[in-house]
């Protein structure tokens, strides 16, 4: 296929995208040039992602090649005084603390995924420094995002190991910052479950990106390694098989549903934000494995564009989000694309009915 000047201007964006990704060197150059004429920031970001994806192996060696990454790791030394003592800043060599180094490295991979694949420069897309505090509290069994930094406990070594040991947990926390910057999805009910699911999705993608795993190769677990060997479970959640991550006499059984028939109506956990997130989590897994290949390239891009879609309201429910994922899949890949079909089939499989028109919201 040879592009003429006329053809360049009538090709829809999804075809240009396909050419940019799969075409000959000449076609890629023209398509990337054409996409560059679209002044949509979103498209520019997508192109940036396509450009670096083909060079990811060399880029990996220096995840801060563009000088956009600014990590600061603090040590709370078992207190709850934030942020704690600064122990490692950007560019410094590893120190003698595993948790601090794990946090530093995982923040780097998370930043790399967002910048190299989606063209996003940090949490706020404006180079916000990534701060993390480790060794928070004593035997503290949690990790959270407080709106300014990521905070990690050491675990009690009875139920949980240190929370920095799982790279997807760190990707999850940083993504809360991204979601807060983009959509303000209310942290309650279905919008809260979407907020949680988006963090799980990109947390899992950070892990897959760091390991260069395809959708078929990935374990799709969240928090693998967090449980001590005293616990009967392999992780906190599973996108592949929600409800199966653990089954332990003390902790109980993983409560996540994979289908709307088992949606849990509860007042606990902010209306089940960590429970019902299993449904959109499973949708992403289904989409990624149906499309195949690296999940961050297409499924991840559909989810990222949906997160950034101005139509994603703070009170969005599963149906609204589903429709926006379809709209973005269609915009990027076309109305007859297998990508759009994969998104539609996945939401249908989990029992989410997609409204035909936006006004049906």
């Amino acid at each position: 296929m040879k592009l003429t000047t006329v053809q360049r201007y009538i090709l829809p964006p999804h075809m240009l995208t396909a050419l940019a990704q799969h075409g000959s060197p000449e076609q890629r150059a023209i398509a990337l040039h054409m996409l560059g004429h679209d002044h949509s920031i979103r498209t520019v970001r997508m192109v940036q992602g396509l450009q670096v994806n083909h060079h990811h192996l060399s880029v990996q060696a220096s995840i801060n090649a563009e000088g956009a990454l600014h990590r600061v790791i603090y040590d709370d030394h078992g207190t709850m005084d934030l942020p704690g003592e600064c122990v490692r800043v950007e560019g410094q060599h590893a120190i003698g603390d595993v948790a601090a180094n794990e946090a530093y490295d995982a923040l780097g991979w998370t930043h790399a995924l967002y910048l190299q694949v989606y063209g996003r420069n940090s949490i706020n897309d404006a180079g916000q420094p990534l701060d993390a505090s480790v060794h928070y509290g004593t035997q503290y069994n949690n990790a959270f995002w407080d709106g300014e930094r990521m905070i990690f406990g050491d675990g009690d070594n009875q139920l949980f190991n240190r929370f920095t040991c799982a790279i997807d947990v760190i990707g999850h926390e940083l993504t809360h910052g991204v979601t807060e910057d983009e959509s303000h999805l209310a942290y309650v009910g279905q919008s809260g479950s979407l907020n949680e699911s988006i963090s799980d999705v990109f947390g899992s993608l950070v892990k897959q990106y760091s390991h260069q795993q395809t959708a078929e190769q990935a374990d799709w677990l969240i928090g693998h390694g967090l449980f001590t060997d005293k616990i009967q479970g392999e992780a906190l959640r599973s996108l592949k098989a929600p409800g199966t991550a653990y089954d332990d006499p003390l902790l109980g059984r993983d409560p996540q549903p994979a289908h709307m028939d088992h949606y849990m109506h509860t007042v606990e956990d902010n209306g089940g934000v960590h429970i019902n997130s299993g449904i959109p989590n499973h949708v992403f897994y289904l989409v990624a494995t149906r499309i195949g290949g690296f999940a961050w390239e297409k499924a991840g891009r559909i989810w990222y564009e949906t997160l950034r879609d101005p139509g994603l309201r703070p009170t969005a429910n599963f149906r609204m989000f589903a429709r926006l994922t379809m709209a973005n899949a269609e915009r990027m890949f076309g109305s007859n694309s297998r990508e759009l079909a994969a998104v539609h089939e996945a939401w249908t499989q989990v029992g989410v009915q997609i409204p035909a028109f936006a006004k049906e919201y």
Partner: protein
């Protein structure tokens, strides 16, 4: 004095860890009983607002719902990590270390 604490939120919802924990000062040693009385007095627990100041940002923070019954008095509060009042944090930590399900 009887203290009930329920922990919600956090990185995951784990059924076995969501049940309330109970601390009855009658089961503590005299020294520990004095300590919990001191912690409750120091933070002026019965005068605290039901909802403590908390950030509206973030994700995965744990929320603690604490009820203390002492004679005819009973009061409940809710506070979310990171707890800003060090005296309230000291009370929380003591309850976490001594309460049972």
């Amino acid at each position: 004095m009887r203290i009930q604490m329920r922990t919600e939120g956090g990185f995951a919802y784990i059924p076995g860890l969501s049940r309330p924990t109970i601390l009855d000062s009658a089961t503590l040693s005299p020294q520990e009983s004095d300590e919990i009385q001191h912690l409750v007095s120091a933070v002026h627990f019965f005068d605290l607002p039901t909802l403590q100041e908390q950030t509206v940002h973030g994700g995965d923070q744990r929320t603690y719902k604490i009820t203390i019954e002492d004679g005819v008095r009973s009061h409940s509060i809710q506070v979310t990590d990171p707890v800003k009042d060090p005296q309230l944090q000291a009370l929380l930590t003591f309850v976490q270390q001594h309460a049972s399900m």
